[in-house]
């Protein structure tokens, strides 16, 4: 069977990291502006009620903040969107807490930390905070988390004709796991992707899967050390190659990412 044309319309973007707190701020860094002198504190997404927010782990706050920005910039109510949340590494701080506690003599775990340790905690907090009852997926694809999740969201957008929210987030890795999972940067990014016939303006993007042997990641246009090292080590920051495509309308029209051992996926502005 020939693949369906997988086209969606990007109608909202959100972003949060140590040196940017919005898509606009990230675009400036991608455009070569110097880093701000101080790191951001937070994030503190106000959509999560204060008592819940205090207990919410960093990956949850990252994902919810970035998701909220994207829905706001699209001008859409969050509860109208079907969501896919993705993290390549999960919440390693909670993994570290659980494994340290369980390796000790007293194995009592905090019930809140235990239920927050599920990979779909950000999807849970998001749907609870916004009253979203539509499907919320939570996925992982290690270094290919970004292309796999984008594809999953576009496929759902096209085959089920649903407006989608897709959010990527990865937080710094806990010390013990650092030698094998090197990410030390905080990064979250969200896209609202609508069916092409939606009556909201947006950037049309078409995905195409092709066979490829051991494909590689493309180089970024940015030469900022901060941006390029984040792109190398933070699985969610792999979205930056698509972010550059979206940020510059007069540059390249297409970016190709590795999808699996035997396939790659290209995203083309149409």
């Amino acid at each position: 069977m020939q693949a369906k044309k997988l086209t969606g319309k990007i109608a909202g973007i959100g972003a949060w990291g140590s040196y940017f707190d919005s898509w606009e701020a990230l675009q400036q860094l991608l455009g070569g502006e110097p880093l701000p002198e101080t790191k951001n504190k937070g994030p503190k997404p106000t959509i999560i009620p204060a008592n819940e927010r205090r207990r919410a782990p960093l990956p949850v706050r990252l994902a919810v903040e970035s998701s909220w920005q994207a829905t706001q910039s699209a001008g859409l109510e969050p509860d109208t969107l079907t969501c896919v949340f993705a993290s390549g590494l999960g919440d390693t701080e909670l993994t570290d807490y659980m494994c340290k506690t369980l390796a000790s003599e007293h194995k009592e775990l905090s019930p809140t930390k235990f239920h927050n340790s599920v990979h779909n905690a950000p999807a849970g907090y998001w749907t609870i905070s916004t009253g979203t009852m539509s499907a919320a997926n939570s996925v992982a694809g290690y270094e290919e988390s970004v292309p796999l999740t984008l594809l999953e969201a576009l496929i759902q957008c096209v085959t089920e004709h649903k407006p989608m929210l897709v959010t990527f987030y990865d937080a710094p890795v806990a010390d013990v796991l650092k030698p094998i999972l090197s990410n030390q940067e905080t990064f979250a990014f969200s896209l609202v992707i609508l069916p092409v016939d939606a009556e909201i303006e947006g950037i049309e993007v078409t995905a195409e899967v092709t066979a490829a042997e051991q494909p590689n990641w493309p180089a970024l246009q940015s030469n900022s050390d901060y941006i390029t090292s984040m792109y190398a080590d933070n699985p969610s920051a792999k979205i930056l190659c698509l972010a550059e495509l979206i940020a510059t309308s007069n540059g390249s029209k297409s970016v190709t990412m590795p999808l699996s051992q035997g396939t790659s996926v290209s995203f083309t502005r149409t």
């Binding site: 235990f114 907090y125 609870i128 694809g141 035997g262």
Partner: protein
């Protein structure tokens, strides 16, 4: 939407494979035993796969979770079926979607008990492809030779139900010609002590929907199914996925919505997609964890949505709640009734919860079913319902 189930296999405490599970179901032999997991002294019952301790040759892929995936993949004809679709369509046109809640955290737990003097990982445990949430699919891609897209769904206890929905969409979009979907979760201290912290574990064999139920038993399982677009493979199992529903409770991280609003949505969506009325559903394999809250809410919802002719049961008293593997384990039990014509009873049910009035019995029933459903609900209020039908 119509997706054919080409082949399926399951591995749990109730049976190393589908054939053994059918025998356990028929004789009402439970695989649950008193908790004997090393390092845990919790007073509860577990569904442990005894043969798992023999699988220790996975090298850099070693983890209990990967071992259970490997053991499950050796059962029945699933490996041959996957090899055949790879030969026919090419490895890059076959997709892989695994569901799990623990991934390989069992291995991370072990690694933390063997840190060196300075608190660092020791050489044996420096396994980046194991200590991450995508581990089950990374390992299965390695084991099967599938080189098409491979994704892991981690939505707690609905994970390996949702793999069917994503698999169906991938096939419908045409990016692949066949998909291996699966689920795997293993017993480890995180889940035992985690569920204990929520006071959800029972010190007795679980009794889903019983008036005197007092909590859940945890288990471990792996399961696989090969999916293709309807009619494209003449060696199909005769069963089709005809509907799915996915929803969120928007209520609480670890407590179901008191009126079951999210669960209602996922069940009605599955019916709508399959273009079926509730009265056409012959059997529902319930989520039925044996917790006070789940069974009450799910049971009330079933009697609201379905007539008394729809038979229901929870099969968790056979192998325990296998968490991220429960979705596919129970999908297989549900769809297999279309082959065996036996609806399994709700094991350990003695006195139905007084607040409930659904059609649920402890004994098996012989019936030629046409349409069956299964529910899976997870933490974060994450719900999935699957509907399987006899292929036309």
């Amino acid at each position: 939407m119509k997706i054919d189930i080409i082949d399926y296999e399951t591995c749990s405490a109730a049976g190393l494979n589908l054939k053994a599970l059918r025998t356990s179901l028929k004789h009402h032999d439970s695989g649950l035993i008193k908790n004997n997991l090393p390092g845990s002294d919790l007073d509860t019952w577990i569904g442990i796969v005894e043969q798992l301790s023999d699988v220790n040759d996975l090298g850099r892929w070693q983890s209990r979770n990967n071992a259970l995936a490997a053991l499950g993949y050796e059962q029945g004809s699933i490996r041959q079926t996957v090899s055949a679709v790879i030969t026919q369509y090419g490895a890059a046109r076959v997709g892989l979607i695994m569901g799990s809640s623990t991934s390989s955290i069992d291995r991370t737990e072990t690694a933390y008990t063997k840190l060196d003097e300075s608190g660092q990982l020791t050489e044996e445990f420096k396994q980046p492809l194991v200590h991450n949430p995508h581990a089950p699919s990374l390992f299965m891609a390695h084991l099967t030779g599938i080189t098409g897209p491979s994704l892991t769904i981690n939505t707690a206890c609905s994970s390996s139900a949702k793999v069917f929905a994503t698999g169906a969409r991938w096939l419908e979009s045409g990016i692949v010609d066949a998909v291996l979907v699966g689920g795997v979760d293993t017993l480890c201290l995180s889940v035992l002590h985690g569920f204990n912290s929520l006071q959800l574990l029972s010190p007795n064999p679980c009794k889903p929907f019983d008036q005197h139920r007092d909590g859940i038993n945890l288990g471990e399982a792996s399961g696989f199914a090969v999916l293709q677009r309807s009619g494209e493979n003449s060696n199909s199992s005769g069963i089709s996925l005809t509907g799915y529903g996915e929803s969120s409770d928007a209520y609480h991280m670890s407590h179901p919505h008191p009126d079951g609003l999210g669960a209602r949505l996922s069940m009605t969506q599955a019916l709508e997609q399959a273009k079926r009325q509730a009265a056409e559903i012959d059997y529902i394999n319930l989520h039925g964890t044996s917790s006070r809250a789940n069974d009450l809410i799910e049971g009330q919802l079933i009697s609201e949505l379905f007539p008394a002719t729809t038979q229901c049961s929870s099969t968790k008293a056979w192998m325990g709640h296998t968490l991220g593997a429960a979705g596919i384990t129970e999908a297989i039990i549900a769809m297999d009734t279309l082959n065996t014509n036996i609806i399994p009873g709700s094991k350990n049910l003695e006195t139905l919860d007084e607040a409930l009035s659904l059609s649920i019995k402890a004994t098996d029933q012989h019936k030629v079913c046409q349409h069956v459903m299964t529910n899976s609900f997870g933490f974060g209020g994450n719900n999935c319902t699957l509907l399987f039908s006899r292929s036309e």
